[in-house]
């Protein structure tokens, strides 16, 4: 995420209401500083806030929003995960609005970072999404097979294994070949005998008669017979 894309919404927040300073920090590191104070002063403040948050966290206290009022203005500190947004404003009544806007910014910021990490192929995120399978392997994976395909593949594997199995003695194998040839011929003859005659395609008349036979027990239909397409001679 570029610094410009972060500074845009922060500048909008900086110009909202009576806000006069915005600072985005990650732990004790200042990421964006839009405060009207010197950098050293801001660094001191961010370090002090990080120490305070660390103290609360150490004692198992979940403090994620703080607001303090001073003679020169108010400070609203909102924390979301490892990022912290510090906003200075003049009117104490605006604190809830500023806190909401800050939380919305941090949520958006997190979402953008997450999206960028996915786009960059972060290993950790691939592990979450793909169940520990690297992205290259995920790309190779095809659509799950149908059961029929799976059975066909399994039988093909079995045949391959049989082919690889140790060969029998030459004489025995010749005998076996002759037996299998005879069996094949017999099976072909049987097949030719048992083969059913080709099914004759039913004509339109047969279809109409068949339906008539089916409706023997039923009262006669009052509907007119189905029309047949007739070609008129010009």
């Amino acid at each position: 995420m570029s610094k410009e894309s972060i500074e845009g919404p922060l500048s909008a927040l900086r110009n909202a209401g009576t806000v006069c300073g915005v600072c985005l920090a990650r732990g004790s590191e200042v990421l964006v500083n839009l405060f009207p104070f010197s950098e050293s002063r801001i660094n001191d403040m961010v370090n002090a806030i990080d120490d305070i948050q660390g103290f609360f966290r150490k004692n198992g206290r979940d403090v994620n929003q703080m607001s303090f009022g001073y003679d020169g203005g108010c400070l609203c500190i909102v924390e979301d995960d490892e990022f912290r947004l510090i906003v200075m404003h003049m009117l104490a009544d605006e604190v809830d609005f500023i806190a909401k806007a800050s939380l919305a910014f941090l949520a958006d910021f997190h979402l953008n970072m997450f999206a960028e990490q996915i786009a960059a192929g972060n290993i950790r995120l691939n592990g979450i999404v793909g169940g520990g399978v690297p992205s290259s392997d995920l790309a190779k994976e095809t659509v799950p097979q149908s059961p029929l395909e799976a059975v066909a593949e399994a039988s093909a594997d079995e045949e391959a294994v049989e082919e690889k199995s140790p060969s029998l003695d030459s004489e025995e194998s010749e005998d076996l070949e002759s037996i299998t040839e005879i069996e094949d011929e017999n099976s072909l003859e049987e097949d030719s005998e048992t083969e059913e005659p080709e099914v004759r395609e039913e004509s339109e008349d047969d279809v109409i008669n068949a339906t008539a036979r089916l409706s023997e027990n039923q009262p006669e239909s009052t509907l007119p017979p189905p029309r047949r397409p007739s070609s008129r001679e010009a």
Binding site: R41, M45, A48, I49, F55, M66, F68, Y70, L75, V95
Partner: protein
């Protein structure tokens, strides 16, 4: 560490030593304090509040103001 100390430490870094109030959200609770502006600066009067829900900070501060003005 109390909330007042937090406010004091941060205020010192920004050279804003006159503290007016402090509010924090801790889990599902709201803790707040406010100095009485009309009290003696050498011996300021302090009002605190602990609410068992996340109350809007503005409402907390207004409630503390009302309590001081009673």
């Amino acid at each position: 560490m109390t909330l007042q100390e937090c406010a004091q430490i941060i205020g010192e870094r920004l050279e804003m030593n006159a503290i007016a109030f402090g509010v924090i959200y801790e889990g599902g609770e709201t803790s707040a304090f406010r100095y009485d502006p009309s009290s003696d600066p050498q011996q300021p009067e302090l009002v605190g509040a602990l609410v068992n829900r996340r109350m809007p900070m503005r409402e907390v501060l207004l409630s503390l103001n009302d309590f001081m003005n009673e």
